[in-house]
Symmetry: D2
Subunit: 357 residues, 4 copies
């Protein structure tokens, strides 16, 4: 259950305060040149302590590859990797050993397994997503050769939202600011909103928008593993995600068919559509147009303020957590969204090879 | 790729105008009493021609079981079943042989496979979902013994929406009207809206809300196969679905953590939460509260009016489809949403057995 | 658990005395021309009642395809098929309802599932292998295009064995006699041996040898899914099989490394080996030489004579079965061995496409 | 493809001369007490340099666990582990960079992947089996609680064989000698035979016998994943294995049904069989009797003597390998056979939980 993908598969491991986080990538084709700087760059975009609006846990997050790469290239054999945990403050959690923090996974883990590693949330910590960023970066190296590019950006923080479609934005500017919103003005508002939440010892949620370009027509499986179903599955597996929509999404439900249908036209290099409410996917299969989607993140549950809750014996207790936490998960979740999209797309890219013998 | 589930698995087959639609259910425990009336009842809720607001294709949709059931009970062996197609009008599609209908899967199937069964959309037809309703009904028979109940209802049609939460509704009334909205007044408005669309030879989209009660704490896998990720995956695999959210969903992204967190309290029979923004799932695992979610359906693409499109040689053509089609997919999609939820939950129920040796 | 293969997957269903036997083939590439005569020919090689040395149950064993084929070609969508049971004599089994026949699966099914379809062995009947022959025939249609051919033949019946290697035999003669041994003289002895067993109301076991030619170097997965491990797994999944060996097999264990090693030489079209103790597979991956293997079948358990056993309440009982049974499973198992080999090889052929992007 | 098992799953990684060998165990239930001494003991039985008849590569083979264990117990989360490589002499292999050693996987890896890590055989090295021994040891900790015990022993080396069944042997003596044959006299002959091979710079093959006791009736899946098919699959996935048989095996093919059938009798604690040609498995499902099997190992391919071969450009070359190698793989393969049996049985044990809701 800790494996993602069918052909290009990531199996991840690790807990927030254990030895480290890592994984095994199986099904990666041989001959992929591993650009370590690129992988490390992606990790740095997810890294804690990267700016004033993220947690101050200081982790170098250096990936160490243990297998599957020889003379700089993948070998077709499993690629194991680990990112060692360095800056655990496990003692911060001793007081929480028997306490179920509100809206965390403490209670549900305990009920599921009858045991749990309470230090830093154990395996339920978003620190696990490091493994996805590593595997996603390798997936992107494969996709790049196929002409596919993936971009994600923060399009909403709390009630602040970006009222522009991806066509109206310059997505090369995503990393120009610490909140990862390509519109400078909105980014400022978002940063202020996050700082305000931090000052209040509170947190804020928001939305990340994703865009995939360069996917040719034909990727995706028509019934259960529709391309958007696999994308949604990947996104909903990210910590704190509460919703996923693609193309016209929830707002498209208010349109009529004659408003919503994308008319086919003859393009310069083949068939195109005049509009793209379909979000680049029809019947679960890519049609060659841009694939775009939105991912909803709740405000994260860790508040550095007093809260009521119960302990493992149902006693009411008050907690007042200290520690180092993000007031908003969105900026650091951008590379995670991109990574999950890359894992899904690499899987479908490889799967599509099976139809062309 | 035509298999859904890991433990309780449905592999589906069939095309709209082929011999029939069916599937194999593998991993069903032995000893489940098969209530044929119940299964047939669920199929009749999905059946075409059931009311004035659905397609007039007349299919009896009688399920025939081919294996796995003996003396009225499952045997632990694969359960194969088929629903024979009866009322195909395949000739209706001869003119569309080389034409890509807007926002259908004609074009993408052709690009994926290099071939396609053009009759009635072939495998891309929502007629395939019959197989899910059969398997979902058996999953529900299993879940029922575990105390789990699943309900879905139409909560939006076009711009008409139901402004009540599931707690404010009497869900025993879902099937009291043909649109399957438990609020009689809103149901009337929705039916009018669908009839209007039909008169305009147009279609409308909407939202189906789902509710799962009776799930104990502990179901769901914490990382990729979070309970809501599997639910979302199931829903996004239904034809015409564009989005999924659970608990507070997209609207919860505007809240702060202190507004959003669900405080644990001591309940009569164990730990409960005072609010339920979490939608009954925390860290991907059920917490014992109600699980609720929303599924966005686009307006379906088949319009009985003139539309521009292209054929397989990129020539511009005008189509003006005749035939029998739903102006709104929502009423018939209610049992499909319930079925997919049932498949996901039965899978997690069985999976949970593996943790308790 | 009723699915075989990872990419080219057969999920089978059905019981000996149910409605029929069938399956779904998922992962078959589009565009494969379905030669119905060829498939039916393979079924007729497995069919009961085909000669004086097989059971006299008369089944036409006509395959009916339900999906996935359009205008004579596969569509990339799931191919469902069924072979209807016609000549069940279910009443023959009423007396055996509560009795565990020796060396059958009656007892173990009952212990596993707490229930069983006792008619004709239910799902444990070798009649289930029909589904494999259908899927195997389609796999062979794919492999044929890749230049791969599969042959199996009876090389031992009881103590009668064929003392020739596959190079010394003319494998075009396999079907020249009813026992499917390509050496006419040995075939005669084998037929006599089977007839003798039949007269004694007894059964005999034996060995089937298999040969796969035309596999290029590079098929097979190096660790768990070694090409021979998957072949062995496929063969050991056939009813009555007790052992599998490939290349030098058990007899090779007596050689030294210097006797056993296959020296590489420069061949006309690339690298070859001077001997082939490896059986065409090195490190789990094909090396381009002939793949050959042997499969051990026990004497089947159904004896038409008096035997002691117990019933479900541990009472000692005497059974004296009547009915129609094979005195030797080997002749009819030849197409089944070929089918399982084809399923394995088609799977690895398709898998190999994933390494060449 | 580097994953073994369906419920209790090992994904292994690593190359002979890379950073190390390891894996991730997913699907292990929570609450299993991890006995590190026991795991390390199993590794020491597989370790190189353990006696005068094994390779002199000196590896401490200490396992390091990276996740999934907390306060000495499994958590239900993935268990990652690594055994660091210490004593690589990678330079020994520089001369072999472009040479295909006879009966190794050098050639086939190159043809499969277009690239390979030539140092020490890379991933094709039997050093990979360390990962299986670690996972197998944990599987055995689970099985032990269920009353299941697994024993393997060397029953043949070259032409020296042990002419006793497992009932005639005292299996507590397996580790009393360095060849792991429980019969002291035969063990001496085997050791001499191996030493002779070593003196000749040659190698010898042989057979390992396995025994599983304490499995209750009901484990195993009836069609493809028969208990013996999964056992055979596991064994055939071990390096150098050429064959597998269980119960009466190949020799049983010469018996008649009346000789071979195991008569059911009333035992003290339920139904038993009077003989056990079935090897404890009927219809693919355990019947409660002892499960026994035999595994054929070829003589390993690495000879420390001059041999002819070709290089990557088909030039004929002579190699004369130096280095540290086993003259016989059998003694060190005993714990590997046990480990693979344990992985299969733990998987079926857990699977069986799914039938009893």
């Amino acid at each position: 259950m800790n494996t993602f993908g069918r052909i290009f598969r990531l199996t991840s491991f690790g807990e927030s305060h254990g030895r480290g986080i890592g994984g095994i990538i199986d099904g990666c084709p041989p001959g992929v040149e591993i650009d370590l700087n690129y992988i490390q760059h992606e990790l740095s975009r997810r890294r804690p302590g990267q700016s004033k609006i993220t947690t101050q846990r200081m982790e170098p997050d250096q990936v160490e590859f243990l297998s599957g790469i020889f003379e700089g290239k993948t070998q077709g054999t499993p690629i194991a990797f680990v990112i060692w945990n360095k800056d655990q403050h496990s003692n911060d959690y001793n007081d929480l050993k028997n306490i179920f923090r509100p809206s965390h996974a403490d209670y549900t883990y305990q009920k599921k397994y009858g045991t749990r590693d309470y230090r830093g949330g154990g395996r339920s910590s978003a620190r696990e997503t490091i493994a996805r960023v590593v595997a996603g970066a390798i997936a992107r190296l494969i996709l790049k050769k196929a002409g596919v590019a993936i971009k994600a950006y923060v399009s909403q923080v709390g009630e602040i939202y970006l009222d522009k479609s991806h066509q109206e934005l310059d997505l090369s500017k995503i990393d120009d600011n610490i909140v990862r919103c390509p519109d400078a003005e909105t980014a400022e508002l978002m940063i202020s909103r996050i700082e305000e939440a931090g000052r209040n010892h509170d947190t804020v949620g928001g939305v990340i928008s994703g865009l995939v370009t360069g996917v040719p027509a034909g990727w995706g499986e028509p019934v259960f593993n529709k391309l958007h179903a696999d994308l949604g599955f990947g996104m909903l597996g990210i910590n704190a995600v509460k919703g996923f929509e693609y193309g016209s999404g929830f707002s498209g439900t208010r349109l009529t068919g004659s408003q919503h249908n994308d008319i086919f036209i003859k393009g310069e290099e083949g068939i195109r559509t005049s509009t793209n409410h379909s979000g680049g996917i029809q019947g679960g299969i890519s049609n060659g147009e841009d694939i775009y989607f939105r991912v909803a993140f709740k405000p994260i549950a860790t508040l550095l303020k007093e809260q009521q809750t119960v302990d493992s014996e149902s006693n009411e207790v008050t907690i007042n957590p200290k520690g180092r936490h993000d007031p908003c998960v969105l900026p650091r979740a951008v590379p995670i969204v991109e990574a999950m999209a890359a894992l899904v797309l690499a899987d479908h890219y490889l799967t599509q090879q099976l139809y062309t013998i």
